[in-house]
């Protein structure tokens, strides 16, 4: 009898600790995100309080910061620059990464796995170590302060990911598909571009979104390549605004605009990765 009581209290004690842990963790995870949204909706009196504690919710919530961004030239330009850089790096890294992944999966000659590991582990090379040599090299080729330069640097970071994701996608596609096409007289190139690629598209779309986000977020290369020019991507603009006028509500509003697409797409990609890209390809 007493033992039973003891065991119940023990279970509920671990339950309580576990529940408290969950609540605490959720609070810690949400705190900075909440603060970001709160500050972006803050009016001046809720940021500059003249010695009063900062309110947990703005006194007069307002969207004036976002209205201000719509007419802020540097923000609009930076948003477009970020878009261009991200799209260009998607194009570059998919164009060179996808065929390579197909080659690594379909053609087994000796040393191919070593090559695959080598290509993917390029990503482990510290970016802060490679940034000065890259900038010094790019200066010579007029690639500093240009969209193309930043996109090239970003595709250097993202191509290993593309190869990794695309290898997974191509491994899921049965070999019968290309073999049957080749038996029917299609060339290797034709069976890759017209038969395998269409089936692989959903998986590659996930890779594309991933690369886009990586470029959209990236700070180090963008900062070093654009530090003294007219161009800025959004993360670089954030740093510039911070060093000019650290207005907390303006910083938060730019942060929200930078984060929202990332939050949305991160969850989309997660769902995408789980749906089989090859359902119904081979009957």
């Amino acid at each position: 009898m007493r033992e039973k009581g003891a065991s119940i209290s023990k279970i509920s004690a671990t339950r309580v600790i576990w529940f408290a842990g969950i609540v605490l963790m959720i609070l810690i995870v949400l705190a900075p995100i909440f603060v970001m949204f709160k500050y972006s909706l803050s009016d001046r009196s809720s940021v500059v309080t003249g010695g009063m504690p900062i309110p947990l919710w703005p006194y007069h919530p307002t969207v004036e910061q976002f209205e201000g961004l719509a007419t802020m030239d540097s923000f609009i330009t930076a948003a477009f620059t970020s878009m261009k850089v991200a799209l260009l790096s998607v194009i570059i890294s998919l164009a060179i990464g996808t065929p390579a992944a197909y080659g690594l999966v379909r053609y087994r000659f000796p040393g191919i796995m070593v090559l695959a590991t080598m290509l993917i582990s390029v990503r482990l090379f510290p970016d802060i170590v490679s940034v000065v040599p890259i900038v010094e090299t790019f200066i010579r080729f007029q690639l500093v302060n240009s969209v193309l330069g930043v996109a090239m640097a970003h595709s250097l970071l993202s191509t290993p990911y593309v190869i990794f994701i695309a290898m997974g996608v191509f491994e899921m596609i049965p070999r019968d598909l290309d073999e049957q096409a080749q038996i029917l007289g299609a060339s290797k190139l034709y069976s890759f571009t017209r038969i395998v690629l269409p089936v692989a598209l959903p998986g590659l779309a996930a890779a594309a979104i991933y690369v886009f986000l990586l470029s959209w977020d990236e700070f180090i290369f963008a900062y070093f390549l654009l530090a003294f020019g007219e161009l800025s991507t959004l993360p670089v603009l954030l740093q510039k605004v911070l060093s000019w006028t650290p207005q907390h509500n303006l910083l938060a509003a730019i942060s929200v605009m930078l984060s929202i697409p990332v939050i949305i797409f991160t969850f989309i990609v997660q769902k995408y990765m789980q749906t089989g890209a090859t359902a119904g390809a081979v009957k």
Binding site: I26, V129, K188, Q239
Partner: protein, 299 residues
Amino acid sequence: MTRIIVFTRKNLFSIIILAPAVLYLVGFLLIILFKVVALALTRVGPQGDLFPTAYHFVELSRNPEFRHALVRTIWFTLIGTPLELVIGMAAAFLVVREFKGGGITRSLFILPLAIPAIVTAIMLYIIFDFPGGHVNDILMGRYSFFPFQVISHPVDWRGSGFFALMVSILGKVWRDMPISMLIILAGLQAITKDQHEAAKTLGANAYQTFFRITFPLLTPAMSTVLVLRSIEVWKEFIFPFILAGSYPLLATLIERAYHEWRNPNEACAIALVLLVLIIISTIFIFHVLKWLRRRLVRV
């Protein structure tokens, strides 16, 4: 020779589709390595360039700023890496069991990954502001939900090396928590129910089950976290750059050498030191873990 030609002809298509990526990635990697070493070993002088020379390394070893940055970086990694593992493990243990709303909780825990690092750094800049930021207000007991006065005067978080780097570590650990969590979670889910059942049948209590079953079986996942995260913490740039500008680590000192001192050669020398440190530490961690695993898991 003919064999090479035959091989090439047979595999022409695969060589052609592999070439761009190999050339791009390996080519750039070789350029980077060559340039880092070349710049670090060159002294640009009025009478022309001197190569090879250890001048920059000798200069750095005399430079107090470099020494401070080196010590800070070592502390930063020593504190940051275990924290990444512990917090990631805690999160994984919290969500591993099935419960109502588990899926949503897991998604919530992945949220930090979806916030750009620069945004997280700037949010911490705002939260830990001086004199009037949220953290100072909370610790001074100025909110009704936490009426305890921990400090009597606001703390200047960015004005002390210790606090500034602690806040940077906090940001880094917050942002990377999901990665560590997912790796540990995969390790936890790989442990089958049978193994726990067997332990129970043999009369093990909860602690014994944890230390004899769960912990040893988790060592591969924990090793992965430690090796990968330690590399990440060594080279951390964004958080210290935004939050601890006056207290550079090696990574942020590279930026300072390049932009403020206008000295690419010195920047590359620092980068080379950092690279060597990362390689040594990775090999070291790898071997220590191997030795530990042999001691822990007696199959």
